[in-house]
């Protein structure tokens, strides 16, 4: 057994003394680690009050039929008591198997999966391509780099409005397509083109982060590996395949996970690009928001139930992703 030494305290870890009783172990654990617990206490308290309590409360709401008509509310000076009641798992059953479940949940679910996969693939491939180009000795490299991260530098809620002006009927993109005698789709009205536009805008916004992280990864690859590969007569493609890609693996696994989570949860782009006008182009997050806050009466219970389902999907995905990485001897965070 390896003996690890806790470097902050100098205590040996890993060697087992005979197991004392529970009370004593608690006391001992408290004495040994009380400073660690004291240090994480602020975050634990904040998370407990601000995240876990609302989460538990939200879960309770999903088991009721709460909406804005039967929740506690104040109208003028009158305080109205909450009258919603407990209905068990009916909300989940209704979302997943209810009468119009396909239109309400599954169509959005499929679109969300497609949206996430398409956006992350585009982010990663374009980001990697640009990173490879920027990793060469090239004149004006810094200038290119500065221009290319502009979409990340400008806040999303600003750039999305820029895109809205461009995509609007009669906007610059359609005028341009018209001069080329190409069809001019209704970007902000037709479902297919709405989805297309959403992916396009999100790709534009998300590439810079991938590019910069992958560029950092490329620069940390030891150049002697390339020299060795060149000595062995490896072609450009072989160098890319057997030196660059393996060297990028740890950065890639992290940024892909972050990209999936961020894209799956991407709210601002679709919300600001379409508002309430595009029921079919809403991904699950914006759809849940629409149910809870975009319509009257506000359906709090269903919206919260969507939220729980979304969280469940993400947690399942992340656990599988981690397991898959661990099988390939990859270490991700924790």
């Amino acid at each position: 057994m390896t003996v690890a030494i806790d470097r902050a305290t100098g205590k040996r870890r890993g060697d087992r003394a005979p197991r004392p009783g529970l009370g004593q172990r608690l006391k001992h654990g408290y004495q040994k680690h009380w400073y660690a617990y004291a240090m994480i206490a602020p975050v634990v308290i904040v998370l407990g009050v601000l995240v876990l309590y609302p989460l538990a409360y939200g879960f309770y709401l999903t088991l009721t039929d709460a909406n804005s008509l039967n929740s506690a509310r104040t109208i003028g000076v009158n305080e109205i008591e909450a009258t919603y009641k407990f209905i068990g798992f009916d909300n989940y059953a209704d979302i997943l198997w209810g009468e119009t479940a396909y239109d309400r949940f599954w169509s959005h679910f499929i679109w969300t999966i497609f949206w996430t996969a398409a956006c992350v693939t585009l982010h990663y491939t374009i980001g990697l391509g640009l990173a490879l180009l920027l990793n060469q000795k090239l004149r004006g490299r810094t200038l290119y780099r500065l221009i290319l991260i502009l979409p990340w530098a400008v806040p999303t809620f600003v750039t999305v409005f820029g895109w809205r002006f461009m995509l609007a009927d009669g906007g610059i993109i359609n005028s341009f397509l018209e001069t080329l005698h190409l069809p001019t789709p209704l970007w902000l009205e037709d479902t297919f083109w709405q989805r297309f536009a959403a992916i396009m805008v999100n790709t534009w916004c998300g590439v810079p982060f991938m590019m910069l992280s992958l560029l950092g990864g490329l620069q940390s690859i030891d150049s002697s590996l390339y020299e060795a590969a060149e000595m062995d007569g490896a072609s450009r493609w072989q160098q890319f395949r057997y030196v660059t890609l393996p060297g990028l693996r740890s950065v890639s696994s992290t940024v892909v996970l972050l990209g999936v989570i961020w894209t799956f949860n991407q709210f601002a782009i679709i919300f600001l690009l379409f508002g309430d006008t595009a029921p079919d182009a809403q991904i699950l997050v914006t759809w849940a928001y629409y149910l809870g806050f975009g319509q009257q009466p506000r359906d709090f219970a269903q919206s919260a139930a969507y939220g729980m389902l979304l969280l469940a999907i993400l947690i399942v995905f992340t656990s599988f992703y981690r397991r898959w990485l661990n099988r390939n001897d990859q270490q991700l965070a924790i």
């Binding site: 998370l47 609302p54 180009l133 979304l310």
Partner: protein
């Protein structure tokens, strides 16, 4: 941009000794064709990256709200009237105040609270460590939809809807775990020997943290602060739902008010967007190098 300076020695040698076909390229140098293609792709990509932003700036100079349909007409009547109007007649400065209160409040709370935690999870292994890290990771991927409904209910019971404090508290749910995570990544890069030296000299773990590590971790603290600032600044969903009175809107909400069902003052919206974007983007460029290292380091180190 020409590549001739790189190529000259090769050409010269070609002309002198025709026997040896070509001097072997040094690594990292490109033939003329490759670098031409690289420049071409990069220029196109830069134009794509630049255009939407440049277009917004251009439109903000047109005086009429429908000028975006006839961009050619803007050249003749370019004016800064939109900007003066936005600064004088709209609630721009109210929005600026509330944005600053909310973002700075979030940043301050996030960094102060999470610093000790980042240190604890970087240096100490305590029972429950793995579970705690898992909770930190899971909290970062909460979709907005999960907490929005319960938060709205809780805050309305506490009378905190439409208050700065309410919004700051909501933002802390995302920034606190993220800051702790980023900070752990940074503390991991500080040599453990420093802690040991402190302990040998008789400092308690808290003393080591406060007197030795914290001063060294200033860049890490800065990255966490930048990140919280930018996150809180760009957040749309919670701000749109929880801020009700138009003097308390943050910029993310205020911008939406220019386009309603009845009227779309796109010229004013573009001008406001530009006014908002310039300082934030400048700030971003200032800190971006640290930001990227911080984001990926926090994730890759175990």
């Amino acid at each position: 941009m020409s590549t001739t300076t790189v190529e000259t020695p090769v050409n010269k040698q070609d002309s002198v000794t025709t026997a040896t076909p070509r001097k072997a390229r040094r690594r990292g140098e490109n033939s003329r064709g490759t670098s031409f293609v690289s420049h071409g792709i990069l220029i196109v990509a830069s134009l794509i990256a630049l255009f939407p932003v440049a277009w917004l700036v251009f439109l903000s100079l047109g005086p009429d709200k429908d000028d975006y349909l006839h961009p050619g007409g803007i050249w003749g009547k370019m004016t800064l009237d939109n900007y003066t109007f936005v600064l004088q007649e709209t609630k721009f400065f109210d929005w600026l105040t509330s944005t600053l209160i909310v973002t700075l409040g979030t940043t301050l709370i996030g960094v102060v609270i999470s610093a000790t935690t980042g240190y604890a999870v970087s240096r100490m292994r305590f029972p429950g460590y793995k579970k705690f890290m898992w909770v930190l990771l899971v909290t970062q991927m909460f979709p907005v939809a999960v907490l929005m409904v319960p938060m709205y209910q809780i805050l309305s019971e506490l009378q905190l809807v439409d208050s700065y404090l309410g919004l700051i508290l909501v933002y802390c749910t995302t920034t606190v775990p993220y800051c702790a995570w980023l900070m752990k990544g940074y503390f991991d890069t500080i040599p453990f020997e420093i802690d040991e030296a402190g302990r040998v000299d008789g400092l308690t773990p808290f003393g080591t943290f406060a007197r030795l590590i914290l001063p060294l971790a200033k860049p890490g603290l800065a990255v966490a602060a930048f990140y919280s600032f930018l996150t809180a600044f760009g957040e749309v969903a919670f701000a749109s739902t929880f801020m009700l009175s138009d003097t308390k809107y943050t910029f993310a909400v205020g911008l939406q008010t220019f386009v309603s069902e009845h009227d779309a003052q796109r010229n004013l919206m573009a001008a406001t967007a530009v006014l908002v974007a310039i300082p934030v983007s400048a700030f971003f460029y200032f800190v971006q190098r640290n930001l990227v290292t911080g984001l990926t380091a926090g994730g890759t180190k175990g």
